[in-house]
Amino acid sequence: MYKILICDDEKDIVSALKIYLEAEGYETLQAYNGNEALKVISENEVHLVLMDIMMPECDGITAMVKLRETSNLPVILLTAKGEDTDKILGLNVGADDYITKPFNPVEVIARVRSQLRRYMQLGGNAAVQKSDYVVGNIELDDSAKQVTVDGEIVSLTPTEFEILKLLMQNVGKVMSPKEIYRKVWNDEAYGAESTVAVHIRHLREKIEINPAEPRYLKVVWAHGYKMEKGV
């Protein structure tokens, strides 16, 4: 049973998250500012922290910095600030993921699950790596033609599988739709690039928690697509 600390100055949000997470079978603890959060963490065994940035007394970023001095437990930041600079700041001080308000409960749960899985795998019982390609929480087993995300098997069509494999083989490299088409279909594109775009969209819907803000399969607009290691 994992314990999750929910920290937000808005009590209603804390209660709502509590309801969602407990419905999923997690135990929850509550805190209403950064200092309280740090106190709770020091007193309890906590597996994951959901923390708001803007809080009175001690804000989320300050609490993060203090927490990271002693612990590496996963922290997901919650904030109303949706700007890129804020995200980068949060991630730089050690946050593992980022959710913007107003959030979708399903997305929160998915991210919580993903982070917990990764943390638990890293911590101690790291399973034997059997897969051919691993990027973040995505594992691709070429011989079994199987893909798992956060440990759960995702069913992909053969084309989607091939595209994912190609991108995972070239992590960090931007591949144009034409190039992807040529390698996956073994044919020249001749204006069929939009097929690639559609497949990538479907692929993102299957492997990403929020396809509009992908962690791994990024869209490089006007150039192509690339796979990133994620955060």
Binding site: A80, G82, F103, V198, R201, V219
Partner: protein
């Protein structure tokens, strides 16, 4: 059909006008002649007497010639209505056929003097002597004209003329009025052809000055020809009639052409002189532009120097002339004075030119937006210094205003961002608790409906808040823009891929048209995606189901045009400009989702990337054009 468009009517009018003109000329001549002979002021007998007396005078003179030539005058006058009487003064002998018959006119030649030569022989020589004789020659015109001759004809003409003397005036006036009416009709109808348009005929296409010269020449030629070819009354009448008619028709055609030209506003344009002037005008214009160009490109100081050199040269020439003329007044003092004066003059002017150039350059820099520029007021004095100080003050004022404006823009953006943050927190609770209520077991259908409304509207509020922040950032320019070379075709393909499911759901078929080669533009891929995202969202929301959306990329003259065309679901009651305004939506009822900020955001984002976005509404056809420079 209108009368003025009928060719037959015009031809008829021309012929009628010719007849009227002829009648007018003849009747006018008669009227004038009759007026000259006092037909209108005295009785017929007096008129007749005067005219016949004149004729009798002429006849008497003619009789003298007959006598000189030794004609048989008795026989000559036997068939005429006149009597002759020749009275030799010296001898008192009278030769006559006049026997006191009544006469109406008496003409005389005055005293007829004739010479009689006699020859006398003196030896071998003939001596010629001459005697001058005087005779009184008279012609009586008989009152009863029984024979037919010039006099009887004239008497008859006078009788007829006298009886018609007023009728002739009326004929002249009547024909004049008719002629004017006909000419008015002809001038008004000139150029009109079937269908109510005014068209020029071949004559009207002739340059007017050439036409005028030709007509003038023909007129001149006619006068000369009549004068040259006339030797008696009959030929005079013939040539006058022939050339008069010819000239009449030519003059009529000329004046009608004049009317057409005035109507079609080609009177001046269609002349050789105008054409020539315009032809040269082009070059004159070019030449003057060239001169202007040169002058405007030469710097102020150089211009001053050139002007000064010119003035000095003129002065020098003047001086040389003065010295040559007044060399005897010791000129050296004047010479030195002029030199010193010129040095002072030139340096003063150059100083002014340099200061003016400084002011001009400074003004240009400020006008271009360099608000930190200060004009150097060193070595300036008086009004110039004051002017430059105020210019610098204006600059500072402007800078303050611009800073204020920037501050207020930033403040606005910050306010919107902060407010939206504060809205987002309660909104999160609302969305989450609505979701939780949805998950509760509830039998009441009405409650379920209400919850649906809450769910939908809170979603809308969320979108609105997000768009608001984005719109304020995009329009105030606080967004980071990293321009890089982008392939617009790839981006459009990617965007279409993202929207394929939503388009399918809305029943809209995309039709993509891309050029074969990659289309390179300078843009920020992420922002351009947001633009396409907004535009394609609009298509999904507002395009009519079952229709196609056309996405084209067109290259033209170094520009790239990315167009989105679709058929609107709703009747677009608002103009393209209004649609671009914030919070305006295609459906005035505002029943659909959306904040009304999409197009405004898209435009701001495109403009941040140095492109432009344009809307076109044509009935239900909705078209967005995004324009970029091609790389």
């Amino acid at each position: 059909m209108k009368l003025r468009e009928s060719l037959a009517a015009k031809i008829t009018a021309v012929i009628l006008s010719y007849i009227m003109a002829a009648i007018l000329v003849i009747s006018a001549i008669f009227t004038v002649v009759m007026g000259y002979y006092k037909f209108y002021f005295s009785g017929v007998d007096a008129v007749k007497e005067e005219i016949l007396t004149n004729m009798a005078h002429s006849e008497a003179n003619y009789l003298e010639i007959l006598l000189d030539d030794g004609y048989d005058i008795e026989k000559y006058y036997s068939d005429k209505n006149v009597f002759y009487e020749v009275k030799y003064i010296e001898s008192g002998e009278v030769v006559t056929n006049y026997n006191n018959e009544p006469y109406i006119a008496l003409g005389s030649s005055g005293y007829y003097d004739y010479k009689e030569y006699s020859y006398e022989k003196y030896g071998e020589i003939y001596w010629e002597s001459e005697e001058i004789h005087i005779a009184d020659v008279k012609i009586y015109v008989a009152k009863d004209m029984t024979k037919s001759d010039m006099f009887s004809v004239m008497a008859k003409i006078i009788d007829i003329g006298y009886s018609m003397r007023f009728a002739m005036v009326f004929i002249a006036l009547g024909s004049l009025v008719l002629l004017i009416v006909l000419l008015c009709f002809l001038y008004c109808s000139a150029g009109h052809i079937k269908g109510g348009v005014i068209k020029r005929n071949y004559l009207d296409l002739l340059p007017f000055d050439i036409y005028t010269a030709a007509v003038g020449f023909i007129g001149f030629f006619s006068v000369v020809a009549v004068a040259e070819w006339t030797n008696d009354l009959a030929s005079a009448v013939l040539w006058v009639v022939v050339f008069g008619s010819l000239d009449y028709f030519i003059a009529l055609g000329y004046t009608m052409s004049f009317a057409t030209r005035v109507k079609t506003r080609t009177l001046i344009k269609n002349t050789l002189i105008y054409m020539i002037l315009r032809f040269f005008g082009k070059y004159i214009n070019k030449f003057s532009n060239w001169i202007k160009h040169i002058i405007s490109n030469v710097s102020l100081i150089k211009k001053t120097v050139i002007l000064l050199c010119g003035i000095l040269l003129l002065e020098f020439i003047a001086l040389v002339i003065i010295f040559n003329t007044y060399w005897y007044y010791s000129p050296s003092r004047i010479f030195w004075f002029v030199i010193i004066y010129n040095i002072v003059f030139v340096s003063a002017v150059l100083y002014l030119a340099i200061i003016l150039k400084r002011i001009k350059d400074g003004g240009e820099k400020i006008a271009k937006g360099d608000l930190h520029h200060k004009i150097d007021t060193q070595y300036m004095f008086g009004d110039f210094k004051e002017f430059c100080v105020s210019l610098n003050n204006i600059n500072e004022g402007l800078q303050v205003a611009v800073n204020e404006r920037m501050k207020s823009e930033h403040f606005k953006t910050e306010l919107i961002t902060n407010v939206s943050h504060d809205i987002k927190t309660p909104l999160t609770s609302i969305i989450n608790y609505v979701d939780l209520i949805k998950k509760e077991e509830c039998e009441n259908e009405t409650v379920k409906q209400y919850i649906e409304v809450l769910d939908r509207q809170s979603g809308r509020l969320k979108k609105l808040v997000e768009d608001l922040v984005e719109a304020s950032k995009a329009s105030s320019g606080t967004l980071n823009v990293n321009l890089a070379v982008c392939d617009a075709g790839v981006l459009l393909t990617q965007a279409l891929g993202e929207f394929e499911d939503r388009l399918k759901k809305a029943g809209i078929t995309p039709v993509l048209n891309l050029p074969e080669n990659p289309v390179k533009i300078m843009a920020d891929g992420r922002h351009l995606w947001r633009v396409f995202d907004n535009l394609l969202s609009n298509v999904c929301k507002y395009a009519l189901g079952g229709t196609r959306v056309y996405l084209d990329i067109i290259r033209n003259n170094g520009k790239v045009y990315i167009t989105f065309r679709n058929i609107s679901k709703f009747q677009l009651n608002v103009s393209a400009e209004e649609l671009m305004e914030r919070f305006v939506r295609g459906d005035t009822s505002r029943n659909t989702e959306g904040s009304g900020l999409g197009l405004s955001i898209a435009r701001s984002l495109v403009e941040l990337q140095n492109g432009s976005l344009e809307l076109n509404v044509d009935g239900d056809l909705f078209k967005v054009t995004v324009e970029f420079e091609e790389m």
